[in-house]
């Protein structure tokens, strides 16, 4: 007997898959060959993309959902979950991704937004959603819309971890702040956070989000992964850092495989400097990257969404 239809059981299945990804690494891939490298290195899932964020940043143009053909090819290649991105507010892209059978949809600021005021109503989907956030209010608004997994936005495609750190610290410290407030203060705080009181109260009681909290946006090395995990991330997304040497050149497959494996081990042993040294010692280098501090406000991806 299947009990699939009630919304609370649907929510448990959606967050349930995110629970299974904890402690792992989700890797951005643009073709079947990269997906295979990711799976062999121990990735817990792959994100199927047309271009990785570093390429999107360098090449410009409108960034859309990847072609279903490409996503299908990746789904046919690996046995781990496959995620794909839709544009913010683009519920028709999300409908196509659900029909295609991807395991998670990322409503992502990395793609060009399709709506300037509305995010996708994620409750309307059976496929779970992950969304980016820079602070607690943004995280709770996304959860209210039905996101079952939150990741920091960081600054995708830069290989600079500074904003992933900033956003994780911000979310963790705002959650900690809620735990000492009185009931009356929580109502006022919910207003400041522009988030539903029920969710604010839930975080105040638990000291953490009601869904898993991962990190993304600029993680490029095993040390970066260990850093965000020690700050409270429960898993990491690695985008351009594994398969790119700079914003337009792909790393050699053997080098990418090494980086991927090293970041996987760093995510498991994130509090063990001995292992972190061991896995870092063997790497030839990391993507060149872009310092976020040198970017114009207009070139930031993290300010997309609200």
């Amino acid at each position: 007997m299947s009990q699939n239809n009630g919304s609370s059981s649907s929510l448990r299945l959606k967050t349930g898959l995110a629970e299974m990804l904890k402690g792992g690494v989700i890797m951005d891939v643009t073709n079947a060959e990269q997906a295979e490298i990711a799976e062999k290195a121990g990735a817990v899932a792959v994100m199927a993309l047309e271009r990785v964020p570093a390429q999107i940043r360098a090449e410009g143009g409108v960034a859309r959902m990847a072609s279903p053909k490409k996503i299908r090819e990746i789904m046919a290649t690996v046995s781990i979950p496959v995620m794909a991105k839709c544009r913010i507010g683009h519920f028709a892209e999300a409908q196509i991704l659900q029909e295609l059978g991807v395991d998670y949809i990322d409503e992502s600021e990395v793609l060009t937004p399709a709506d300037e005021a509305h995010h996708v109503d994620k409750h309307a989907f059976k496929t779970p959603f992950v969304c980016g956030a820079r602070n607690l209010g943004e995280a709770l608004r996304r959860i209210a819309e039905g996101a079952c997994l939150i990741r920091t936005k960081g600054e995708a495609g830069t290989g600079d971890v500074v904003h992933a750190v900033k956003h994780m610290r911000q979310i963790v410290s705002e959650m900690r702040g809620l735990t000492i407030l009185s009931e009356q203060e929580l109502y006022a705080r919910a207003k400041d956070l522009q988030a539903p009181y029920e969710l604010v109260s839930m975080v105040a009681r638990a000291g953490k989000l009601p869904v898993p909290n991962f990190s993304a946006g600029g993680i490029a090395t095993p040390a970066d992964a260990a850093l965000v995990m020690q700050l409270g991330a429960e898993a990491v997304f690695v985008g351009s850092g594994i398969f790119m040497t700079d914003s337009s050149t792909f790393a050699e497959p053997a080098e990418a495989a090494k980086r991927a494996k090293a970041i996987v081990l760093a995510a498991t042993h994130f509090r063990d400097p001995k292992v972190l040294l061991e896995v870092s010692a063997d790497l030839a280098g990391a993507m060149k990257g872009l310092a976020v501090a040198g970017l114009d406000e207009a070139h930031l991806l993290q300010t997309r969404g609200w």
């Binding site: 299945l13 904890k22 817990v44 899932a45 059976k126 996987v264």
Partner: protein
């Protein structure tokens, strides 16, 4: 009684909470040498292929020695790890349970579901997430719970496995059965 939960990746924290509620002392196991300190091991849900990669050859051998000597309980990916034969695609198993198990047997996440099965004659909620299915069981394997016609909780000697996630439901019977197994093996 000290129970280890393999914490390479996956929902190890949900198992930790459940086992602590039931009064067990819990250690999160990330290194092979920690296996020497525990009376029983839980292998959680997650990605079974990722577990194998993170374990490496040495970790796999240590784990195999452990499950030959002491009680082990795997859920979902953990059940896959404990099996003798794994399909879709084929991968290595620890061989503690004489079963053939098929990965992602129900389909993708969209086919994940919460179902009501039977554990020793009583209904039980079962959370299946990209779950495997036990396709064949050897003569010495005991079936403790079923869903439809499928065996979903099985036991052979000191090894136990569930293809669903009892750690994500309120029903504590499967974990209690494992703690009893550990107690009686001491």
């Amino acid at each position: 009684m000290i129970i280890g939960v393999l914490a390479l990746q996956g929902d190890f924290d949900a198992h930790r909470r459940r086992l602590e509620e039931l009064g067990a002392e819990v250690v999160l196991v990330k290194k092979p040498e920690q296996l020497d300190q525990i009376d029983g091991l839980v292998i959680p849900g997650g990605e079974s292929g990722a577990f194998l990669k993170i374990l490496g050859e040495e970790g796999f051998q240590k784990l195999q020695e452990f499950v030959c000597q002491k009680p082990a309980f795997g859920t979902c990916a953990g059940a896959i790890l404990l099996a003798t034969e794994v399909t879709n695609p084929p991968q290595e198993g620890l061989g503690a349970l004489d079963i053939r198990i098929r990965r992602n047997a129900y389909g993708r996440q969209i086919d994940s579901s919460i179902r009501i099965g039977m554990m020793q004659g009583t209904p039980m909620e079962m959370v299946f997430i990209r779950a495997p299915r036990i396709e064949h069981i050897g003569p010495n394997v005991e079936v403790l719970a079923t869903e439809g016609n499928d065996p979903v909780v099985v036991r052979q000697g000191r090894a136990m496995a569930a293809t669903f996630h009892p750690e994500l439901s309120d029903d504590t019977r499967v974990h209690r059965a494992f703690l009893d197994l550990v107690e009686s093996s001491k």
